[in-house]
């Protein structure tokens, strides 16, 4: 052991042919973001005709599972992203809000179509003028209703947003602020 070449010892630590190829060096934030963005479980908040396009997006031709978001969860407690697809009436609004609050963190929201984004053509006493008045929206999708491609584009945009997040850093800062 003593006579062994020190360079050879070091190279052993840096390179092991048995595990090489199975190890990835990355930041924890990036790894978490990668896992989150490629396995989004949507809560399909289908309220009107946009929901039909949402269903088309989930079906074979457009196939939302290519982006890892095929696991539609009808229980908010198992969902990551709420896709508000349709007209939110005032009567429905607080139910949407309640379902949003039942979703565990981290969670995101896509406002799909004109109605969910701004009330759309329903400038009326009965319709909430945009779901962003009640909950934080990450991605707005235009269209009445949007094509499935538009929803997929919105989903990819959300994936880019998630990729830019810093969950571990935020958590550490949160702990530091709480202890101060």
């Amino acid at each position: 052991m003593v006579t062994e070449n020190p360079a050879k010892v070091l190279s052993h630590a840096a390179y092991d042919s048995k595990v090489e190829g199975n190890i990835i060096f990355t930041r924890l934030d990036s790894a978490i973001n990668w896992m989150r963005k490629n396995s989004l479980w949507p809560m399909p908040m289908g309220l009107a005709c946009c929901a039909i396009e949402l269903m088309a997006t989930g079906a074979a031709r457009f196939d939302i599972s290519r982006f890892g978001a095929e696991v539609m969860r009808f229980s908010p407690r198992q969902a990551d992203v709420m896709i508000v697809s349709g007209t939110v009436t005032y009567k429905m609004a607080l139910a949407v809000r309640r379902i949003w609050e039942q979703m565990p963190e981290p969670k995101w929201c896509i406002a799909m179509g004109a109605c969910a984004s701004s009330g759309g053509m329903y400038r009326s006493y009965a319709v909430l003028q945009g779901i962003d008045q009640l909950l934080p929206v990450d991605v707005y999708i235009s269209g009445c209703p949007p094509r499935p491609e538009a929803l997929l584009e919105g989903l990819m945009k959300l994936q880019r947003i998630i990729d830019g997040e810093t969950p571990i850093k935020d958590q550490i800062e949160g702990i530091r602020e709480a202890t101060l």
Binding site: A93, L94, Y122, R123, Y125, V127, Q129
Partner: protein, 197 residues
């Protein structure tokens, strides 16, 4: 052609039967327009007229209950019942004028479907039905302070607040609402924004 002719004949003789049964004091008006028959009853006689239609004239189906706001007229409102037989042989429309604060006798014991229709009329127009088993709002939430189909209610809505139940706000109507101009020619009569936001 023959089918529609039969339908018209049946409803026509039914309106005369109603007139014969109830007389001019209870049946105020009867008219026909393009094969549709309308009978205008007095509100006080509405319950017995509807019961007669259901039980004697065989109108076993109530298609719709709706209401009209003739603001400025007295009595202000009208309630409209659309009746039909189950084989679609004949149709009949029964109307009655309703003054403000006047109550309409319910038709729930005649047709079960009247339950939700009458609730809708109550919710949207604020007309009350006497004897209704469950007269509460059906489209708007319980506690909403207005009746949105009344003429004085603006299309954009009014703000309201009911903590933990619902709220409402005034909708922006930039350039709208889009309304037709009655009486004008085709081009000028088209739906256009009048800029009343």
């Amino acid at each position: 052609m023959s089918a529609s002719g039969r339908k018209a004949d049946g409803s026509s003789s039914d309106s005369s039967k109603l007139r014969k049964q109830f007389g001019r004091t209870k049946i105020r008006e009867m008219h026909e327009f393009r094969g549709e028959y309308t009978v205008v009853a007095k509100l006080a006689a509405l319950a017995e007229v509807l019961a007669y239609c259901r039980n004697v004239l065989d109108y076993k189906m109530l298609l719709d209950v709706s209401s009209i706001d003739n603001m400025g007229d007295d009595p202000r409102f009208e309630v409209v019942y659309e009746l039909a037989t189950t084989d679609d042989r004949k149709h009949l429309r029964i109307k009655a004028s309703v003054a403000e604060e006047e109550e309409i006798p319910t038709a729930v014991h005649l047709w079960k479907t009247a339950n939700w229709h009458e609730r809708e009329v109550y919710d949207m127009m604020g007309l009350k039905f006497k004897g209704h088993p469950n007269l509460k709002r059906i489209l708007m939430w319980e506690g909403y302070p207005y009746h949105p189909l009344r003429k004085e209610f603006p299309l954009a809505g009014k703000p309201s607040e009911m903590p933990d139940v619902a709220f409402s706000d005034i909708a922006p109507l930039e350039g709208g609402p889009f309304v037709t101009s009655p009486g004008a020619d085709r081009v000028r009569g088209e739906p256009r924004a009048k800029g009343e936001s």
